[in-house]
Structure formats: structure tokens, C-alpha cells
């Protein structure tokens, strides 16, 4: 495919706040690297806000019948916490890394649509600002991150919180869709010479299939958001049951988006560990084809599993059976990935760098999260566990255990490329262990709380046996968990100034982004080598044993066609 888009040669050096009219250059930038960095900063800033909200909830729940927060304040805070962490933290982490590294990893100097790229970021950020503006406009949304109708309708909810919620997610959705389009076109049209689609680095592949998921899921959500805005602003009756609307329709619309969204946030993390584990095992990824194909299976299946969020709604046995089957089935390709990642280490030479430790933590914690998912597919078990703290444990094991842990693996792995300096390994290891222990202590007890009968989204609970002590344990652990993030931020700010110089390829990694300088210049590549295998940098570093030669042996004919 020769759809290369001409981008004018940049002559200025990479702008920064320190050079000349810095801030303005960042705001007006269309450079994918700068936009990627801005996504990552956005994620970090909103993370601090979201974490403060989480700690306020934990303090309120530390003791039964506590009165630290009023019910209304608590309900706003848990809604904002969920919305912030999902849409304003995990999403920009994924998109930020993808925006920065997709062009670099495929040997391109820019995204296919640089202006769309900038537009996507700014409209996304605008969405985030509008969400928080709601606090000043009469009250934040207070109906959770999935705003179930009719509770979110005007009749039951007369502050403008839900309007701001819908509007902000609508904007963020548009931004995300723009980014997804850009990823697809960039991957399809701007690959270096010789790089076949089945030679993409797995991170690029995961983002590529993920982009299709975004393109199919977000428009459904946006349609739903428009419907609820019409209901609230113009008295339409889509979801108002008292006037003939359907409360269940909203659940369908939301979860058709909502369940794929889980994979939208998890797949980029899967992509990151698919890069990190082989590099620190000094081996190619085990079963590339199977990891790549299982991602496609996940994307396709994820559209047929949404109603396992609705087993308690009472939609009948046949309905339950169908969605139980699909939800169980999706565990299989997910399992294939886990096994392949673990197998990559076997027979390798494993280097315990912080990035690798986070990748291994993902394997452990996401296995717990994934197995819980199977539990929710077993309909009778779901009738017991759904809407309890067990589901709160599950969402955190998936979103923290996979998406955020993967994000940290990516941060430690790519920080040297982005900044030119290494993150401190010593601080990093402290960060990792406190994170891992703090996370598991905070959230594992949620399983027990759920089984003991504590429903989710309660601002307080009666003093029933065990609830108090388990909650107190979780709150204290959450404090420990918080320390790990402080260490991470200290590490960033310290390493930006004093970190060891990285050099082009500090990890002896295999993919193209490590060919250019750290940090890359405004124009990343003057020239890129002809790609002959999935590990172009390995081939250059090991001319005696390049991948393409080894893979060539069994089928010679195959290579000639390329």
C-alpha cells in the first residue's frame, strides 16, 4: 500500500517549555510525540484527583456508620472516581503510549492525520474539564459511572451533574474515536518498508485491533448519551419508564459499549507486556500468532458478552444461557495469552528490571481478575456476586491489575526513550513492591466483603459481623498503596533531572523505536532499515543469528514472496 501522506519537513528542534515560546508550541503542536506526552500528563494529573477521591471513600468506609462524608457527597465522589479513572486515566495512558510509540515502532515519522491527532487530544481534555466543571455548576454526577436510568433521569436527579457527565463523555468519546481512526490508518499506511502486517510489534497489533473495537463501541455509547441528554433536556422518553420508556434499554446500550470498554483498556496493557516480557527474557514472544489471533477473538467475542452485567435483571433463562456461554468462551483466548506470556520466560534469561516486575504482576493479578470474570459468567453465581463488593474487587483487579499495572510496565520500559534518562531502578523496585502488596491487600478483602453481603456503592454499612474489621484493613492498605504512587512521582521528577543517561537502546530491546535517539528528535528517523522480521533491532544486533534467517529454514518459498 502506498498511501504515504506527505508531511512537511520540520526544521525546528523539538520544542519544550524551556525553549523560546514553549507553552504555546505545546498547545499548537501536532507532533505525535508531544501529544503522546500530553496524554500521559493528563492521565497522571487526573490520577491524583481520582486517587484522592478513592481515599475519601476509604476513610468514610473505614468504620461502620461513619459520618466523614454525607450520603450525597459520597455518591458524587464514587461516581466521579469511576468516571475519572476509566475515562480520564486509563484511557489516556493507553492512547498516550499508542500515540507516542505507534509511529516509532513502525518506522514512521508522524501519525497519518497529525491535525486530527491534536484535535482528538484537545477535545478529550475539554471533556475532562467539563466533567469537573460540574462541581461548580450545581453538583457533580451522582449516579455511578454507568448512570442507570431512570435514576439518572431528570425526575429523580435534578442537579445538572448527569448532563455534564453525558456531555463530557460524549466529547471524550469523540476524541477517542479520532485517535482510533488515526491508529488504524497509520498502521495500515505508514509502516516501514518490508514490515508485513503479521510482523507488527504486538503492542502495535493490539492497538490496531483495539482501534476497531473503539470504532464500534464508542458510537453506541455516544448514541445512548445523546438519548439521555434528549430525555433530560427536551423531555424525550427513551428511558423514563413512567411515560413508556425502557429502563432496560439503557442497560443494553450502555453495556454494549461498557463491556468492550474493559477490553479497550486492557488490550493496550496486554500489548505493553507482550513487548516487555520477551525483551527482559532475551527471547522472542512465545506463540506470536496465538497472542495476535486471540486478541482478534477477544475483540469479536467482546460484543456478545455485554448482558452478563444484567443477569439479575430477570430477562429469562435462555437469555442467561446465551450470554453465559459467550462470557465463558471469552475466557479461553484470554487464557491463551496468559499462558504464552508465562511460557516466554521459560528457557529465557530473565532480567528483573522494574518494567518486567510490573509485567509479571499483571500476569498474577489479571489472572485473578480474569478468573473472577468466569465466576460472573456462571449465572447462579452471578446472582450472588453481582452488585456486591465482589464485583468491586473484580473491576479493580481488571483495571488496576491489568490496565494500570501494564501502564506502569510501559512507563518504566519507555521512560528512557521518551526522556533520554532512566528511571531509578532502586526507587522503582520500592514502588513496585509497595504497589503490589498495597493493591492486593486493599482489594483482595473486597471478595470477602461481597460474600458477606456488603453491596457496592453504599456510603455506609451497619455494624454486622466482620464488615468493620475487613473495611478497616482495606483502608489501611489503601494508605500503603497510596505511598507507592508518591514514590512513582518522586522517581519521575528525580530521574528527569538526575537519571542515568539512557542511550538509544538501554534494554537491548527488539523493536524499531529503539533505533532512534533517546529522546527522539522532532523528525524521529532519517532512514529506517528494511524490515525482514518481527524483531528488526535484534536482526541488526545479531547479524550472526537474525530472526529472518532462522524462520526461513523450514519454508524458503514463503520468504521469496515478500
Amino acid at each position: 500500500m502506498n498511501l504515504r501522506i506527505h508531511i512537511p519537513e520540520a526544521t525546528e528542534p523539538l520544542p519544550s517549555i524551556r525553549t523560546g515560546n514553549g507553552l504555546l508550541q505545546w498547545i499548537s503542536s501536532v507532533d505525535h510525540k508531544q501529544i503522546g506526552i500530553m496524554y500521559l500528563w493528563t492521565a497522571m494529573i487526573f490520577f491524583v484527583i481520582g486517587f484522592v477521591e478513592a481515599m475519601m471513600m476509604r476513610i468514610q468506609l473505614a468504620r461502620p456508620e461513619n459520618s466523614f462524608l454525607s450520603p450525597e457527597a459520597y455518591n458524587q465522589i464514587f461516581s466521579m472516581h469511576g468516571t475519572t479513572m476509566i475515562f480520564l486515566v486509563l484511557t489516556p495512558i493507553a492512547i498516550g503510549f499508542a500515540t507516542y510509540f505507534i509511529p516509532l515502532m513502525i518506522g514512521a515519522n508522524e501519525m497519518a492525520f497529525p491535525r486530527l491527532n491534536a484535535f482528538s487530544f484537545w477535545i478529550f481534555l475539554l471533556g475532562g474539564i467539563i466533567l469537573y466543571f460540574s462541581y461548580f455548576a450545581g453538583g457533580a454526577p451522582n449516579v455511578g459511572w454507568f448512570s442507570y436510568a431512570p435514576l439518572s433521569e431528570k425526575y429523580y436527579n435534578f442537579t445538572p451533574g448527569v448532563d455534564y457527565w453525558a456531555l463530557s463523555i460524549l466529547l471524550m468519546g469523540i476524541g477517542t474515536i479520532g485517535a482510533a481512526l488515526n491508529f488504524i490508518v497509520t498502521t495500515l499506511t505508514m509502516r516501514a518498508k518490508g514490515m508485513a502486517i503479521n510482523q507488527l510489534p504486538l503492542f502495535v497489533w493490539m492497538i490496531f485491533v483495539n482501534a476497531f473495537l473503539i470504532l464500534s463501541a464508542f458510537p453506541v455509547l455516544n448514541a445512548g448519551l445523546v438519548m439521555i441528554l434528549l430525555d433530560r433536556q427536551l423531555d424525550a422518553h427513551f428511558f423514563t419508564t413512567s411515560t413508556g420508556g425502557s429502563a432496560i434499554l439503557w442497560q443494553h446500550v450502555f453495556w454494549v459499549f461498557g463491556h468492550p470498554e474493559v477490553y479497550i483498556l486492557a488490550l493496550p496493557a496486554f500489548g505493553i507486556v507482550s513487548e516487555v516480557i520477551p525483551v527482559f527474557s532475551r527471547k522472542p514472544i512465545f506463540g506470536y500468532e496465538f497472542i495476535a489471533a486471540s486478541s482478534v477473538a477477544i475483540v469479536l467475542l467482546s460484543f456478545g458478552v455485554w448482558a452478563h452485567h444484567m443477569f439479575a435483571v430477570g430477562l429469562g433463562t435462555t437469555f442467561g444461557a446465551f450470554f453465559a456461554a459467550t462470557s465463558m468462551l471469552i475466557a479461553v483466548p484470554t487464557g491463551v495469552k496468559i499462558f504464552n506470556w508465562a511460557a516466554t520466560m521459560w528457557g529465557g534469561s530473565v532480567h528483573y528490571k522494574t518494567a518486567m516486575l510490573f509485567a509479571l504482576a499483571l500476569l498474577i493479578d489479571f489472572t485473578i481478575g480474569g478468573l473472577e470474570g468466569v465466576g460472573f459468567a456462571i449465572v447462579p453465581v452471578d446472582w450472588r456476586l453481582t452488585d456486591t463488593y465482589f464485583v468491586v474487587a473484580h473491576i479493580h483487579y481488571v483495571f488496576i491489575g491489568a490496565a494500570l499495572t501494564g501502564g506502569f510496565a510501559g512507563a518504566y520500559y519507555w521512560f528512557p526513550k521518551i526522556t533520554g534518562r532512566m528511571l531509578s531502578e532502586k526507587l522503582g523496585k520500592w514502588h513496585f513492591w509497595i504497589f503490589f502488596i498495597g493493591f492486593n491487600c486493599t482489594f483482595f478483602v473486597f471478595h470477602f466483603l461481597g460474600m458477606l453481603g456488603m453491596p457496592r456503592r453504599v456510603f455506609t454499612y451497619p455494624d454486622l459481623p466482620y464488615l468493620g474489621s475487613l473495611n478497616m484493613f482495606s483502608t489501611i492498605s489503601a494508605g500503603v498503596f497510596g505511598i507507592s504512587f508518591v514514590l512513582f512521582f518522586i522517581n519521575i521528577f528525580w530521574s528527569l533531572r538526575h537519571g542515568k543517561k539512557a542511550g538509544d537502546n538501554p534494554w537491548q530491546a527488539f523493536t524499531m523505536e529503539w533505533l532512534t535517539t533517546s529522546p527522539p528528535q522532532l523528525k524521529s528517523y532519517e532512514k529506517v532499515p528494511l524490515v525482514k522480521s518481527r524483531r528488526p533491532v535484534w536482526d541488526l544486533d545479531h547479524p550472526e543469528d537474525p530472526d529472518w534467517k532462522r524462520n526461513q529454514k523450514p519454508k524458503t518459498a514463503d520468504h521469496d514472496q515478500e
Partner: protein, 320 residues
């Protein structure tokens, strides 16, 4: 800390002791699932931890053999999980059908549950009784519940007595309830329903058939008119002020069903859906300023004087 370990022990005990048939089926299936999950987790944890330890770079040559896959292994770890989930799919079907026992289309439910923002309306159509928040059932019998909502989505859940069932406006659900032994079982609304979602608790009192019949007889009776002067004053106020616009008391003109039925409110153990113990003092606290006690509940603050509160509370507490 001791309490913490007790909690975990209790969690496992809970899986082996069930208070009803529906809960037994769910717990049993949950236990089977827990075993499967534990086995898979152990395999993954072994692969990860043993792999990381055994192939630590210190013990290995810098450049290991470049292996990139193994077809038989791939097929193994695709097919084995597939078999496991297939088994669980059929178990799911079996248990799901068993718990959702069929009933005739025109079958009259034993109990009607109508969920409201932050309280439960409970009716026994066969006996003509209406009560709130505290459900009485005869132990050892399977009863059909009709669950619906008057406003937003709620969810009926008594963990010891079986499945969770959502109360969805515009959508009627049926669910079976039973308890093996007499006892008190606690539950709660488990779909977020607004400000006071946390205080929408459920209490189920399972009784022997005889005790249950006695309770029914008692509930059917119209409460006797108050005798002392303070309560009589309260009764008068109840009808003349706005109380009767939302609440019903059998044997009086008050028959609105917007708020809980108060016919035998004095006989209940708690008020405000399990939030407070039912006694004169708490009733006074509540009537003095409802929004201070249960912020967001739909009962407004009527700015009653101390004497009015006293009279009303005395009257209500006498409705046994």
C-alpha cells in the same frame, strides 16, 4: 486482626452451610467454581514464579536459544480451558433452571415486593396484609415473590436465602424464596438507587408455620384505638395533618400507599429500612427532622413542635 482471620474463616464456612435450598445450589456451584479457579491460578502462578526464578539471568547465558512457540502446548492450553468452561456451562444451565422454578402464568404470588426509594413495600395478597421492610415467611416452604419497583431500579438480595433479583420499573420479576429453619436473615438493596441506597436494608423473619399463622392473624386485625390522651392526640394529628397523604393505617381514613403502611408499625423491630431500632426515642428523632436522620429520604421536615412529635410518636409506637 483476630477478627480479620475469623472473617476469612467465616467466609469459607459460609460456603458449606446454607440456610435455604436456593442458597445451597448457588453455594455448591460457587465452591466448584472456586476449586477450578484455584487450580488454574496455581498453574499460572507456578508458570510465572517458577519461570522467573529458574531462568533468572544470573544462572543463564546472556543469549538463550531463540524459541518462538510450540504448537502442541498451544493446543493444550486452548482445549483444556475450553473443556472446563463447557462443563461449567452445563452446570450453569442445570442450576439456573432449578433455581428459577417454573410457575403457572396465572399463579398468584405468595408475596408482592414493591421497592421504593429507600424502603420495601411488602404485601401478602392471599391474606390481604401490607407491611414494610420486615418480611415474615413460614420456614420450610417455597414461596413465590413478585418483585417490582415504584420508581428506580432496586435489587432484592438476602444472601442466605438465594438469588438476587432486580426490581425494575416497568418490568415484573418473579423469584422463589425459602428458609430451612426459623431465624432472622438480613439482606439489602443491592442496585444503587440514590442517596440512601445504603439504608435500604431487608430483614426476613422465618417462623414455624404456627408462629407465622399467628403473625398473620395479628397483622390482619385492625389496631385498637389509642387509649391514653397523648396517643389520642397523635391519632387526631395523623389524620388532620399531612401524614395521611402518604401513609395508611387500617381502620382509619388514611389509606395512601406512597410511604410505608403504618398499620402495625409498632410491632416492627426497626424503622427506616433497618436503619434505627424501633423505639419511642428514635421515632421522635426521626419525626423531629427526617432529613437530619436519613438525608435524601422522601419524607420532608414538617417542622413539628416538640409536643406534636411526642404525640405522633406515642401514637405510632402504640400501633402494635
Amino acid at each position: 486482626m483476630k477478627d480479620f482471620f475469623n472473617a476469612i474463616r467465616h467466609f469459607f464456612e459460609q460456603q458449606f452451610t446454607s440456610s435455604s435450598e436456593g442458597a445451597y445450589d448457588i453455594n455448591h456451584l460457587f465452591l466448584q467454581y472456586l476449586i477450578l479457579a484455584a487450580v488454574i491460578f496455581a498453574i499460572v502462578a507456578f508458570m510465572v514464579i517458577a519461570g522467573a526464578l529458574k531462568y533468572h539471568s544470573k544462572k543463564r547465558q546472556e543469549v538463550p536459544k531463540q524459541v518462538s512457540g510450540h504448537k502442541t502446548l498451544e493446543i493444550t492450553w486452548t482445549v483444556l480451558p475450553l473443556i472446563a468452561v463447557t462443563v461449567f456451562f452445563f452446570l450453569t444451565l442445570k442450576v439456573m433452571k432449578k433455581i428459577n422454578r417454573p410457575f403457572k402464568k396465572d399463579q398468584k404470588p405468595d408475596i408482592e415486593i414493591i421497592a421504593h426509594q429507600f424502603w420495601w413495600d411488602m404485601r401478602y395478597p392471599k391474606y390481604g396484609i401490607i407491611t414494610a421492610n420486615e418480611l415474615h415467611i413460614p420456614a420450610g416452604e417455597k414461596l413465590l415473590m413478585r418483585i417490582q419497583s415504584a420508581d428506580v431500579i432496586h435489587s432484592w438480595w438476602v444472601p442466605d436465602l438465594g438469588r438476587k433479583t432486580d426490581a425494575v420499573p416497568g418490568h415484573i420479576n418473579h423469584s422463589w424464596i425459602d428458609a430451612d429453619k426459623p431465624g432472622v436473615y438480613k439482606g439489602t438493596c443491592s442496585e444503587y438507587c440514590g442517596a440512601e441506597h445504603a439504608w435500604m436494608r431487608i430483614k426476613v423473619v422465618a417462623q414455624t408455620r404456627e408462629d407465622f399463622d399467628k403473625w398473620v392473624e395479628h397483622q390482619k386485625q385492625i389496631p385498637p384505638a389509642p387509649t391514653d390522651s397523648v396517643a389520642r392526640e397523635g391519632a387526631k394529628m395523623f389524620q388532620s395533618m399531612t401524614c395521611a397523604n402518604c401513609h395508611a393505617i387500617a381502620g382509619t381514613p388514611a389509606n395512601a400507599h406512597i410511604g410505608p403502611d403504618l398499620t402495625h408499625v409498632g410491632s416492627r423491630t426497626t424503622i427506616l429500612s433497618g436503619m434505627l431500632t424501633n423505639n419511642l426515642e428514635n421515632m421522635k428523632r426521626w419525626l423531629t427532622n427526617p432529613q437530619k436522620v436519613k438525608e435524601g429520604a422522601h419524607m420532608p421536615n414538617f417542622m413539628l413542635t416538640k409536643d406534636q412529635v411526642n404525640a405522633l410518636s406515642t401514637y405510632l409506637e402504640e400501633l402494635k
